[in-house]
Symmetry: C2
Subunit: 335 residues, 2 copies
């Protein structure tokens, strides 16, 4: 049995969306026990059949705008904190939350702890590409400042994830840079480039540019958390902006445009699905001692369901245990 | 008379697109003399009426893949180099090129020279927003590494540009960061935040996130060149990716989708125009002693025409002269 500790109170639509997603996953995944952390008065009415569902009751929770480190220090009984402690104590195998990202990073670092040999755990997710395969990007913002060594570790973790979870053989690893030629970028990129090029265990294809990410220029894209966060949010903002623009143009376009839009509806739906990467799950915080996955704050039941499936894939692949061995060995060699 | 030195050989469609754009601008702008630098054998046949057009013949040119600093040292008679020298020597008032960006930065720095008091000139352009007003972003990649002082200067230059060239009164200046709250980001962002907040001559609105740029969250967005470049290219790549996806979905959607697309054609055209910021011109390298503007490498005649109009607006506003006074004064105060 896999045991997943779930912060039932985190996210914009919690606890409803969380519970609905859990119920759907529970009916499909027979080897998972779901530990729900949160207010039982709110949770219980949403659950019919309680098979393989455990509720750990707490009234306290971390809000979306709480200052992360202060929140986890003061709210010792918050649903997210208790869920992390369960993972730390071996009562659960993985942690899932759609709540405050900074707080989730903080409980992961301070309660669950880093894997030995990994300096900075980072956030990794799968982003959409035009050929629908998608690419893995890391770090998406766990760390605002990074060293070449950190980026090297992101490359290894990202490559691990792409091969073990996404089934891509020998994934192509690219370094996000301001030009494709070698020697481009700031000193962080230049030094990282040399570290990556020297590794035999990576299929490093060199620098890649942000313009080409959606064209599947690489299967794994490595960057610092500040840039990763900016790129991720630019993709979101641009996609929403264009679709919004399309909508308002259609609304302003009269009967002809409305009829055209109606005829195009099935195609637009297909397009939206291809851009919607809900099925790839949430963002994994890779580098801590157990799988920790952040679902989007606006997750609905479907996103939660897919994120749970992602967590079970991560548990089945045992990539966290593998990472522990690899990075510990890497560390020992250097000592 | 304004005199614009134009690199007739730079860009994917040079010299044809450049000359066509020049002819269109020449017929409209009666107070501009156009100095065309390049191969007269190629240029002359494209020009009918040579009114206010001067050709400075040279066979040498810088290619798109030339290493910038080496190219400007070795190709002393390249069209771009001669055009920059004309500006340096006062024979022309501004420089326009659609050629190698790195080489254009290099001729601007080394031949035309920095404004006293500005440490790092940066690239600035107007990007599209949903309300069609657009926002100014700086630096887009002139410098891969930046200090808080550099970002402070970008804020001043960007604010200058937004008010003088784009006519926005008291433009709202935002610092691109990985969260909207004060105190977010790496040390570069934190220190820059304090510098910007302390300035009385800026309408600083705090941190802004990349997700909100297209919603016109700010009129001027300040960032380092590495991040600016990544954000700009992500916007381009995402927009192209989505429009490409829309096209392929329509092609796969059979007769219904094709009829819908035909009906929607006028609306899609309006949408594309609203995303197409050709009319806002190219990217200005702000911080050198004369206006230097980079048109997109793939510029057609229309883009060149609008970029020339932008150059004339810059000359008319005298913002470069104003910047010289302001930054020199800023410098003297500190000495």
């Amino acid at each position: 049995m896999k045991r997943i500790a779930i912060d039932a109170m985190g996210g914009d639509a919690a606890p409803q969306a969380i519970i609905e997603g859990v119920l759907r996953a529970r009916d499909e995944l027979s080897d998972v026990v779901f530990q729900l952390y949160g207010d039982q008065e709110q949770i219980l009415p949403l659950i019919g059949n309680a098979d393989r569902i455990e509720i750990v009751h707490t009234k306290e929770k971390i809000e979306g705008d709480d200052e992360p480190t202060r929140a986890i220090r003061r709210k010792k009984d918050a649903s997210m904190v208790l869920a992390a402690k369960a993972v730390k104590d071996g009562q659960a195998d993985a942690l899932l939350s759609a709540g405050n990202t900074g707080a989730l990073l903080a409980v992961a670092f301070f309660i669950i702890g880093r894997i030995k040999g990994i300096d900075r755990p980072g956030l990794l997710t799968t982003l959409p590409s035009q050929n629908r395969q998608g690419f893995v990007m890391m770090d998406l913002g766990a760390n605002a400042e990074s060293s070449p060594k950190h980026l090297e570790q992101y490359a290894l973790m990202g490559s691990f994830y792409a091969s073990q979870i996404r089934g891509i053989q020998n994934p192509r690893v690219g370094l996000l840079n301001n030009g494709a030629e070698a020697g481009k970028g700031d000193s962080l990129r230049k030094e990282t480039y040399d570290l990556l090029a020297a590794r035999q265990d990576l299929n490093f294809i060199g620098n890649v540019e942000a313009r080409d990410l959606m064209s599947q220029v690489a299967d794994v894209v490595v960057t610092d958390g500040f840039t990763g966060n900016a790129v991720l949010k630019t993709m979101e903002g641009t996609a929403l902006g264009i679709l919004g623009q399309l909508k308002s143009t259609i609304l302003a376009g009269g009967l002809r445009a409305k009829l055209g839009a109606w005829l195009l509806k099935p195609s637009l739906k297909v397009m939206r699905q291809s851009l919607d990467y809900t099925e790839a799950g949430g963002a994994m915080l890779f580098g801590v001692k157990a799988p920790v996955v952040k679902a989007h704050g606006s997750s609905d039941a479907k996103s939660i369901y897919y994120t749970i499936k992602q967590v079970t894939s991560i548990l089945e692949s045992q990539i966290v245990d593998q990472a522990k061995e690899v990075f510990q060995a890497d560390q020992s060699e250097k000592e």
